[in-house]
Amino acid sequence: MVQQSWLMRLTAVLAIVTSLLLCWPKEVGAQSKSTLVASFATGINSLDPARFGNLPEYSYGNLVFNALAYIDEDLKLQPDLAESWQTSDDLKVWTFKLRDNVKFHDGRPLTADDVVWTVQRILDPKTGSRIRANLQIVKSVTAVDRLTVRFELNGPYADLASVLADYPARIVPNGYTDLAKHPIGTGPFKFVSFVPGDRLVAVKNENYWEKGYPKVDEVRLMHIPEMSSAITALESGSVHIVADIRPESISQIRSGKAATVQSVPSGTWMGYVMHNEKPPFNDIRVRRAFAALVDKEEVIKIASFGTGTVTHSPIPPRHPYFLNEVATPKADLATAKKLLADAGYAKGLKLKIWYPSADAEQERLALALREMAKKAGVDIELSGVPNDKFYGEVEGKESLATTMLYGRPTPDTQTYLWYHSTGSWNRNMWHYSNPKMDALLEAARAAKTEEERTAIYKDVQRTILEDVPGIVVYVKAISHGVRNNVEGFSVSPRAWLELKGVSLKN
């Protein structure tokens, strides 16, 4: 019939077009330059280092910028833009000597004025920088001469160099206001383009001050929100590194042959936050009861599929100051029930636990607590809410919530803001106040020797275990999926990607 031949013609056309397309070369023609592609499940929000808040942003920061110092994979402090630094006896005045002949991507030379501008900008509340709280110890920062910067602090502080090595303290050009649109830094790669939700492209900085770096010609940071798509791309070769693989997806890659999973315990910690000023947790017995009924190993199995490592506090287990002397207690239901009874909850306790619904690991954390608490007669209802509600109305206001926090570079930055009564995080989380803890944290800042500091931080950890402001359960392992032809890559416990030494072998 006539329709049939019309139909057959159409089918034939479609078949020809499809086969043409499939035969079309899918890979770009022989590239003489090497491009490293990494993917993240979250997107970059801002190109301005002062505004950084997530993993892809920190990784982009490592590409395009440098800080005064940096923290290597062994958690040791190394010089970066500052060749050396020294501090006065009272730990209140710090002097940094900058490297000479370092240039920004537009050719202008690095001077002390750039450092002064960077720090003052972070401290300016109008910039909206998350690191402002960490740098409030700085009273003034001045350029002594072209390559020397002096910091005067409000109090003694042994860790200033480490704080200045932290994510957002990347040095930016003096007076430059276009950072969010055309970022310029001193880093191994130069910024090329950014499409929100898609990719960020950076090319090799031919004039990078550290000889021999970087090794590849171009880096693309892709935003691939769906983990299975990212893993498929990793196995097919269009992505070389998939950052921050969730525990539940790790087995997908181990069974493949083109890529492996590399993991390292990070400083990112997960735990339960209790409001110390509201019932029931204003009673220390209830907090201790909860500490007694939590089996940390069990929580790790449920929440992180066994990939986490137990810890007492935000100071991670591999850190030299970690309180090895105290073993992780097993769950002690009898003690928990007795403490609850003493506090007046013998007949049981009903509570809600809040968590951000977008984070599956925190949801599992909440679930684990609910199951354990049941055995002690505590009835916990799960309440998952979207991020804006969590940060706007829940955190710091409700009685019980879960939390996940990126690791900080030093024991002081890991603890002060959370456990000191004036700490800004403290006031947004557990509202904990203990003059003994305050004294310990302040003494630690002024301690001059390693032995002194180790001893003080061990006391800090003991106090945390006694007072239970909240329960820090474990530190997460950070896992990246890496293709087999990627060389020179190692996983940093800071969780970000450091790519300047990475190359591709074919």
């Binding site: 929000n45 801002s46 505004r51 909206g128 898609d198 691939i224 769906e226 509600k389 706007g392 800004s424």
Partner: protein
């Protein structure tokens, strides 16, 4: 006709203003605000207050709205509060990507859907008809992210034929660019096919049973002319409405497919903006999406008049 057009455009403009006010109020009802979301959980109240002051969030609502509206009507979409970059290029880029995907998909859906519908209508009750219906129903009953992920697993993992993401630079080659688009288009086509094919099928069946078709056949016209020049032309009217509606959906409603294929379209950008309470960005996207949606429907209404002169607006029926 022009009076009609004028009226429609006036109504559209009014609707856009109402939309912008509704969106503005909705964002302010949601908990939290953009300053808290920028500063994250580390924010001490005084930091948040300082950022709020800088972003003008403390001004009364109508002042904030007017500030935004007066810039917008002059074409200045402002800057994203979170990214601190001009909104216009960001939205235009995302919109461009969405338009490419939407147009290609719509074309394929129209071609395949109408073809399937016509085949089913002419071979009504046969195995071909049942097969086509089954295919279409399968496509629409299973969620699109399932098809997307299945297609990725089959075509990328097992067969190694196509790339896993939907987006590629044109500078990397046009063939490569098209290859990236195949899977997202296939996924979306599966989802949209049933509406179009079933609508076409029932319309064409109805037309084929009407008197004028009987008359045309009695006149001795070849079946092909009866089918395409008469039955289909009239039967396509409902299908055009469906396609216009689908176009609107393809522009802003395919967040799931955009996520599965990492396609930086307008849907994902809107979710990004809403999650962060980035008001200028939300407003720009919503207004553009609404305008496109209304425009698509206007085009559909105008197309009606091409297909059926009796429906011409403003003119008296002779």
């Amino acid at each position: 006709m022009f009076v009609y057009l004028g009226q429609r455009i006036l109504v559209m403009t009014l609707l856009l203003v109402v939309m912008s006010i509704l969106v503005f109020c909705a964002i302010h009802v949601l908990p939290g605000n953009v300053a808290i979301l920028i500063l994250g959980d580390s924010a001490a109240p005084e930091h948040v207050a300082a950022l709020e002051a800088k972003l003008g969030l403390n001004d009364p609502l109508h002042v904030q709205y007017w500030r935004w509206a007066s810039m917008f009507v002059t074409g200045d979409f402002g800057e994203s509060l979170v990214m601190e970059r001009p909104i216009a290029p960001i939205v235009m880029e995302a919109l461009g990507k969405s338009l490419v995907l939407a147009s290609c998909t719509l074309l394929i859906v129209a071609l395949v859907g109408i073809t399937l519908g016509v085949i089913s209508a002419t071979r009504r009750g046969s195995i071909v008809d049942h097969g086509a219906s089954l295919f279409a129903y399968l496509g629409i009953s299973v969620p699109e992210f399932f098809w997307g992920i299945v297609l990725i697993i089959v075509c990328v993992n097992y067969l190694g034929l196509l790339p896993a993401s939907g987006n590629a630079d044109i500078s990397d080659g046009i063939g490569n660019y098209i290859a990236h688009l195949i899977l997202p288009i296939a996924t979306l086509t599966l989802t949209l096919l049933a509406h179009v094919s079933r609508m076409t099928r029932s319309s064409v069946i109805e037309e084929l049973e009407s008197n004028y078709v009987k008359a045309a056949r009695a006149k001795g016209l070849p079946e092909r002319i009866v089918l395409f020049r008469h039955a289909l032309r009239n039967g396509l009217l409902p299908t055009i409405t469906v396609l216009a509606y689908d176009f609107g959906w393809l522009i802003g409603g395919i967040v799931v497919v955009e996520t599965v294929f990492s396609y930086p379209g307008v849907g994902r950008l809107l979710i990004f903006a809403i999650e962060r309470h980035d008001l200028p960005l939300v407003q720009a996207i919503v207004i553009l999406m609404t305008a496109i949606y209304m425009g698509a429907n206007l085009v559909a209404d105008l197309l009606y008049t091409c297909f059926n002169p009796k429906l011409r607006y403003g003119g008296a029926v002779e």
